[in-house]
Symmetry: C2
Subunit: 233 residues, 2 copies
DNA sequence: GTGACATATAAGTCTGACTTTTTCGCCGGT
DNA sequence: ACCGGCGAAAAAGTCAGACTTATATGTCAC
């Protein structure tokens, strides 16, 4: 999914990033680059590159004569897809999943409304195709196939909104949906009501009915929130 | 405001980042690290650190035997505060401002609703204080003082929502509001109706009236959108 | 035309020496 | 006891050069 092993510094990041976001090095901790480079058995130059990336994510701050200090969580760039992935893989996965779902509940309805106004014919076609795909795999425990179409559906909505900020949340939504399917309790088939709502959203967008698209999508996201409340109270 | 000149690689970024986001190096362009390091008169190690940061922002991709290629805009990490600042400083500032305002219109109402449920007494106090400050400077062309309280107001709302993703948008909102005051046409005093709405939002949050806080905030953001439509059609 | 192989290219890595900034502790003065 | 300056140490920052590795591309035989 991501880009594993794109060089030595990447492998260092894949080890250090999750460790920091998991709180293994709590905020305020001080690291030293040459200790780290010894620990990971890489040269200082490679280590420095990794630290620079962590610094650009506001996970750490590097200062002379003091070292590399871990920043408080409130300052982290929590929208960085890499950071999101690290946190979803770590201990506070439930908390992170809730934050992201709340974000979805704010963004997706508005995005759907905009999509109803701006979607091209091709995007409308793709949307209905996705909705049909969801219907086709909504029974019989075909969760993986269902997930693929679900993700595609929301991606099209976000893209068709015409807003680049919304479009970039496609990856985030994909992570949330995948996380829900793979790690939460989800033995049963998806909620039939949710499936119907998706089909109706596709309809509304196709007909250019922005308020209806928005309201239906709001129903979807509040459903997702309630589901989360039930599973992780 | 930001962190200027935190090392040589930082200065390189401050030159290269805006150049890329401004389209000076269009997507697909290929740069070579040693050419760049000569151009900026820094060592290759410094240049490599800068490239790593740009890579973590998904602005460029570094591949062996090819060089550093600029990625298409659709792949940029547009939520990175640094990227936002670069783009706001560049040519497509109006476009960026619109994207961010649409994002605000999606997020802030939901955040206000959550704030009404979760805000502490101290946060409520701060909120009303901000609202009063806005009222106090709403006439007589005291735009700067007004801006300070406006930014603080929205920051408190986003923080009080209790959602870390929302809270982190405080900087973005601050940039948008500052941009509107400083660079757009804004000779007149702020809209009295908007001022009143802010006071009412503070009330609603204090009283724990989530639906009202949400709806009032929605009125604020749609007003901001309409204002943008008038100024930059 | 197709496939295997050689080659050139640019990024990637490592090492060691040097510089710069900043903290902390020491010391003397008040 | 307090404060201000002074010096030393510590850690990041910078640089230069040599070497390694992956890979795109072109060449040649078939």
């Amino acid at each position: 999914m991501s880009t594993p092993g794109r060089g030595l510094h990447g492998r260092v990041l894949d080890a250090l990033g999750p460790a920091i976001t998991a709180g293994e090095y709590p905020p305020g901790s001080v690291l030293r680059t040459d200790e780290l480079s010894q620990h990971f058995e890489v040269s200082r130059s490679v280590m420095r590159e990794a630290v620079r990336v962590l610094e650009s994510m506001h996970l750490v701050e590097s200062r002379r004569r003091v070292g590399v200090t871990v920043r408080p969580r409130a300052e982290w760039n929590v929208y960085d897809p890499q950071v999101i992935r690290w946190r979803l893989a770590g201990a506070d996965r439930p908390h992170q999943l809730r934050s992201l779902t709340v974000l979805r509940s704010a963004v997706e309805p508005v995005a759907a409304g905009l999509a109803a106004r701006h979607a091209t014919a091709a995007q409308c076609a793709e949307l209905t195709e996705c909705a049909l795909g969801m219907v086709a795999h909504s029974r019989g425990h075909e969760l993986e196939e269902y997930l693929v179409h679900d993700v595609a559906f929301h991606r099209v909505i976000l893209t068709a909104s015409g807003n680049e900020m919304f479009a970039r949340l496609g990856d985030v939504v994909a992570e949330v949906l995948a996380g829900r399917t793979h790690h939460e309790v989800m033995f049963e088939d998806p909620d039939p009501a949710a499936v119907t709502l998706h089909v109706q959203v596709a309809e509304a967008v196709r007909e250019g009915d922005a308020p209806r698209a928005e309201q239906l999508t709001r129903a979807i996201t509040t459903g997702a929130l309630q589901e989360l409340d039930v599973l992780a109270p």
